[in-house]
Amino acid sequence: MTFERTLDVSHLPDAAIDSRGVLWWGQIGMMLIETVVFALIVAAYFYIRIGFSVWPPPDIAPPNLFWPTVNLILVLASCIPMYLSSRAMERRRFVAAAVWMALNVLMALVFLWIRRTEFLLFNFKWVSDVYGSLVWTLLGLHTMHTIGDTLESIVFVAITASGRVGAKQQLGAKMDAIYWYWITATYALLYLLIYIYPAALRGTL
């Protein structure tokens, strides 16, 4: 090669901590996949529903709205420390970032504990009938995602506290936060589908 024309990139930054970074695109892709996974089960829910004249099936008790609503408020509120954490991370204030994310983890653990109550409040199991199968699968899958992201957040608290924070970790923590918003939004939609919709159909809203 003669190198008559070259393009010097040595002055470019050696990382990006926003939507220009590859990790950002990767995480968005993963969230897209998981959205499709949920969307198709929701589609199956409505496909099955067509075959029923009474929905939910008569044996299903009207949903108890108290704990799910508490949980919805809790998960929405938990987005605030998550947001503050990822903002602190951007400004390289690692102590604040770790503290805010730890607060989010605490709220997530309470959320998961109330999730247990949500399951216990159902008067049906996944083996009861197809309605039970759909609801347990949807909420179970969401629980799995929540546990996964909570573990991820715990790891990020540890990384941040250890001070080993480079640009990759900064962006990683931000994506962890975005994933948590996704989990929150998914729960809000599931809340409508699993609790509000049947309650409205039953007239117990």
Partner: protein
């Protein structure tokens, strides 16, 4: 931020020897037995996909031969009905999930970074993890096959036949979990490819200069993202029905067996295009190179690939015409099925025009493309026929359908793939395949293929159902079946010759050099086989066929990337202007160990759902280690740097 053109750096300032040495050191692939589990280079992973997929092609081929042996004459009893069920199920599942999709992924993983001019895929460790998922899933299915736990309800596993009531035992659980493994792998590759294409193209490779093969795997990857979750949902629900007593497909408790068909084909039809679209990309590259001219109608071609990607999702119900659908639904899906012939037609005309306007050089790869035209067009014509509901109802579940989809899949995907192997083998290995043997192999495969599958049209029209292990003599189906079986043997001979060529040429083939075909795309700028870091300098692209537009040593290059770590250039999505530098991770064992934990979860779930929890717990250590930041020369915290 944009990079300034710097005339200051000239050849005198660049110590090429040192650059080579540093790059080779930082991109070195680990050696030894344990090194095998730590590889993260895209070439290694890509080749693993391709080789593994071809091994399973042989397995699926042997299963097909056994079936043809059994059907060669009426009233044969070489293979009992149960074994025959297992054979066609394993054959279909192997060819679709363990060969066709992974081999296309492997070609994408190997070629995309080279063709867009970068050093690796965007997430090298995830890439390694995806391969292990595929490997474990494939081995899992075959452990079942050899332990008399082979699935036997057909590759699309219709409920209620595949459900707990009619398929007791573990056969269909093995099938369902194999699906989970391989789909996870496909999704991982899709993310890799999409992000690599969006963010890591060489400077100057704006979207209208992206090679058509790269476009095709890019579109394929999006299809994977929207289609594969469906089959993961479906196989998950089937598993739950079978092992945990849910009722998704159980009509007694309000479930619906047809739900399976909807979800399965929402994946299953796009799947055909997931296999076919990369193949069209391959043949576009071959056609361009050997027609010695740029692709005719590049924009129309790319748009038609994209629109096939969209319309491919509106066709799934045409697999279900025989299930008694509302008439409006039938009409809609008939129209959609015919509609997809339009973009496919546009592609065919673009290719013909390219050949027409060029100076075609009839090499072996180009012969495979010509073979594709003949076979795929025939398959497309029967496709338009069965898009019509009355005709489809007539031939549903007959050998006519078998003939149709083998024409489409073998003609549409395997022929371009074999052509692509002939085309890129010199790049992958550094030696040429034998031309004469290649030509003989092509004709043997072409004749054998038509001899095997053309008679099946007639058999189907004469009423021979598929998935029967034998047939009576007075049916009159004997001669055509014998012909098909003879054809299958000829295909097998062609396959053996192909393998002989591939193995012999590695050592004895003529040296390929960098660009044996005088092609125009970037992979031909690299050594054959490419160095672990692909390019000494990232090239700057000024057209669709960079190597045709500028002489090799006049191509402008990127300087200023660090060679002492795995640094790559990230560029902007639309115009591929340089944006920032980025350090990719090096060899690591954690993706393998995480894959083992995932395997424990998936395999254990076949027997008890608690294994999933165990696998999850075992997975925590590797995944944390995977993401834990390392303090090595690849990790320079900005704090220290500014200090």
């Amino acid at each position: 931020m944009s990079a300034a053109s710097s005339p200051a750096i000239t050849a005198r300032d660049i110590d090429l020897e040192a650059a080579h040495r540093d790059l080779a050191e930082s991109w070195r692939a680990p050696g030894g037995f344990f090194g095998w589990f730590r590889q993260v280079n895209h070439q290694t992973i890509g080749l693993r996909y391709i080789v593994t997929a071809f091994i399973f092609l042989i397995a699926g081929g042997i299963e097909a031969l056994l079936m043809r042996l059994q059907l060669a004459f009426p009233n044969l009893h070489l293979i009992n009905p149960n074994a025959y069920n297992e054979l066609f199920t394993t054959h279909g599942s192997t060819m679709m999930f363990l060969f066709a999709v992974p081999v296309m992924e492997g070609m994408g993983v190997y070629l995309v970074p080279l063709m867009v001019g970068t050093r690796n895929v965007a997430f090298p460790r995830l890439n390694a993890y995806g391969y292990y998922m595929y490997l474990f899933g494939a081995l899992f299915l075959y452990v079942g096959v050899f332990s008399n736990i082979a699935p036997d309800a057909g590759w699309f596993a219709y409920t209620p036949l595949s459900g707990p009531q009619f398929s007791p035992g573990k056969r269909m659980d093995f099938w369902a979990q194999m699906i989970t493994f391989t789909e996870l792998s496909a999704l991982v590759v899709a993310i890799e490819i999409i992000v690599t294409v969006i963010k890591m193209r060489a400077p100057g490779m704006s979207l209208d200069r992206v090679p058509i093969f790269v476009w095709s795997v890019f579109v394929q990857s999006f299809m994977v993202i929207f289609a594969m979750p469906a089959i993961m949902d479906a196989s998950g629900m089937l598993m739950f029905d079978r092992t945990m007593g849910t009722h998704f497909f159980n009509p007694a408790e309000g479930g619906d067996p047809l739900l399976w068909q909807h979800i399965f084909w929402f994946f299953g039809h796009p799947e055909v295009y997931i296999i076919f679209i990369p193949a069209t990309g391959m043949l576009a590259e071959i056609l361009t190179t050997f027609s010695r001219r740029p692709m005719f109608g590049y924009v129309a071609l790319v748009l038609s690939i994209v629109s096939v990607g969209f319309i491919g999702f509106g066709l799934w119900v045409h697999h279900m015409f025989a299930t008694g659908l509302p008439q409006l639904g039938e009409s809609f899906f008939t129209a959609a099925s015919m509609l997809i012939a339009i973009p496919n037609g546009v592609q065919i005309f673009c290719w013909i025009a390219t050949l027409w306007g060029g100076r075609p050089k009839l090499t072996v790869p180009l012969w495979y493309v010509i073979g594709f035209f003949a076979i795929f067009v025939a398959g497309g014509l029967t496709g338009v026929m069965i898009a019509s509901v009355p005709f489809d109802t007539q031939v549903h579940d007959t050998f006519f359908i078998v003939a149709h989809f083998h024409y489409v899949l073998i003609g549409g995907a395997v022929f371009p793939l074999l052509g692509a192997i002939y085309y890129w083998y010199p790049k992958m290995t550094g030696s040429m395949l034998n031309d004469k043997l290649g030509m003989v192999t092509f004709w043997i495969l072409f004749v054998g293929f038509n001899l095997t599958f053309f008679p099946m049209h007639a058999l189907g029209l004469n009423g021979m159902p598929r998935r029967v292990y034998t047939y009576p003599a007075n049916s009159g189906w004997g001669p055509m079946n014998l012909l098909a079986s003879v054809g299958a043997v000829i295909i097998a001979i062609g396959g053996v010759l192909f393998l002989v060529n591939v193995f012999r040429s590695r050592k004895r083939g003529a040296p390929a050099g960098m660009n044996p075909w005088e092609a125009g795309t970037l992979e031909w700028l690299a050594d054959s086989p490419p160095q672990t870091y692909n390019f000494l300098h990232i090239p700057i692209v000024s057209g669709r066929e960079p190597l045709w537009e500028q002489k090799r040593d006049e191509i402008p290059v990127v300087v200023g990337l660090r060679n002492d770590r795995r640094e790559v250039l990230v560029t902007r999505t639309l115009d591929a202007a340089p944006d920032h530098r980025y350090v990719l991770p090096g060899p690591t064992i954690w993706p393998f160990l995480f894959a083992v934990a995932t395997m424990i979860a998936f395999v254990g779930t076949v027997f008890n759902m608690w294994w999933f929890v165990l696998g999850g717990i075992l997975g925590i250590t590797p995944i944390v280690a995977w993401f834990w930041p390392h303090r090595d020369k690849n990790f320079v915290p900005p704090m220290e740097k500014s200090a």
